[in-house]
Symmetry: C2
Subunit: 234 residues, 2 copies
DNA sequence: CCCAAAACAAGAGCACTGCTCTCGCAATGT
DNA sequence: ACATTGCGAGAGCAGTGCTCTTGTTTTGGG
């Protein structure tokens, strides 16, 4: 009759390793993540860690899924707390600011998800469902704006045949179907949001933009207007 | 009377190391760049490399500057070959496609410049001038569009006081001055272009967008129209 | 022309990494 | 009660960035 059962102990140890890994990740970044250092802190010898995570990459995968889910939680929570769900502009801003806020608070995790891929590491399909939650939030808003019949706020050129085919992948994920022009605008908004955050976090706006939050807020407002979610002011 | 003088030999060796490093960088990425492996290939013992580059980070800096300059060359060359320099839409597309093409051809180098910062490495000021060439191409186009008095193609909300202050850094780099609204639109275009490339290269568009080039072309056309460089079609 | 000074290549060595293998011990379930 | 399995510890391999010493070669001034 051990104080902790074998299964319980395994769960505890796995969690301890992952938590310590998460802390190290936030401190030194993904490339410098050391299995030995984690083992030391958990109080194990390095080889024992391999009983729980077959390789460093498997630990990395677990951390990636954890980060995607945390960001997904933040995004979905922000979306859910909007008082009037029919106000798509507010929901869009809430989502964008949730991503921005989480990225600022967890820069290394953001870099792990949306920065350079770790060399020699290919994210397995396990990560896809968690990763899809964030993009899913955008897609659902796009569907809602289509359903509401909102007109795009910025003039948008018609989509030609080749580009129509290129969008087949996203189109399959949209129900009800969204017009190509609206799809393109939403993809652009997606690129703008993540591009902005990446440029900001990776230091390319340093000394150019003095107040990141003020500027990001303006950009999201502008995007919401371009998408037809809100009227352009002025 | 040596066949190669000491100074000549030093220059040759430095170049050989940097070239080999560049090749390794393209193969394994920045984080996995090994000084020892480079030394082996050049035919030196690892400690000898330190006579030419005091540390791995210094070699990395040299490679970063080289990459920024190569991208800068590509961008400026693309801009210069536009037949009619007053056609800002064509120039914008040329620049955007030059960046996109270079990034596709040199994904690891792009990741080094615009992906996650290498942990523990801080880019010295040496890299700034080379890095500024790319953003400078955007800024110069923004100035030209202001000078030409082009109206923005997409409705743009007026910039409030806080946001005006936030833009002080970019404003200082613009001569002649550009209106805040135009500046914001150009910053958004900048974010969209790099965001798009990063999302594409780092695998986030996989299976969503089937033809990257077709889609990117449409996006840049759209951006050019939003910026007022070209008429919206349709 | 000669010789001190500087530059250099090579090697050993330190502390670290991911990962494998073997060894014993302890919990498990039949 | 015992064979099976899970697990921690340790040694070891091949690799890393970087430092220090040792001996050699090139250089430039007296």
């Amino acid at each position: 009759m051990p104080s902790t059962s074998r299964a319980q102990n395994r769960a505890d140890q796995t969690r301890a390793i992952q938590e310590t890994g998460r802390r190290h990740l936030a401190e030194v970044g993904p490339a410098a993540l050391s299995l030995r250092a984690i083992a030391r802190e958990v109080g194990m010898v390095s080889s024992a860690v391999y009983r729980y995570f077959p390789s460093r990459d498997d630990l990395l995968t677990a951390l990636i899924v954890e980060a995607y889910d945390e960001l997904g939680d933040a995004v979905e929570a922000a979306d859910a707390t909007v008082a009037d769900p029919t106000d798509l502009a507010v929901r869009f801003r809430a989502i964008a600011h949730a991503i921005h806020g989480w990225a600022r608070a967890n820069p290394h995790e953001y870099a792990l998800l949306y920065g350079s891929p770790v060399p020699g590491y290919a994210a397995p399909d396990t990560t896809v469902p968690s990763a899809a939650r964030v993009t899913g939030a955008f897609l659902r808003l796009a569907e809602a704006s289509e359903r509401a019949g909102l007109a795009l706020g910025a003039p948008t050129s018609p989509v030609a045949g080749g580009e129509h085919d290129a969008l087949a992948g996203v189109r399959a994920a949209l129900d009800p179907p969204v017009t190509d022009e609206r799809t393109v605008r939403w993809l652009m908004a997606w690129s703008t949001v993540f591009g902005h955050i990446s440029l900001e976090l990776f230091g390319h706006m340093y000394r150019g933009i003095l107040d990141y939050d003020a500027h990001f807020a303006h950009v999201t407002d502008q995007l919401a207007a371009d998408l037809g979610l809100a009227r352009h002011v002025g």
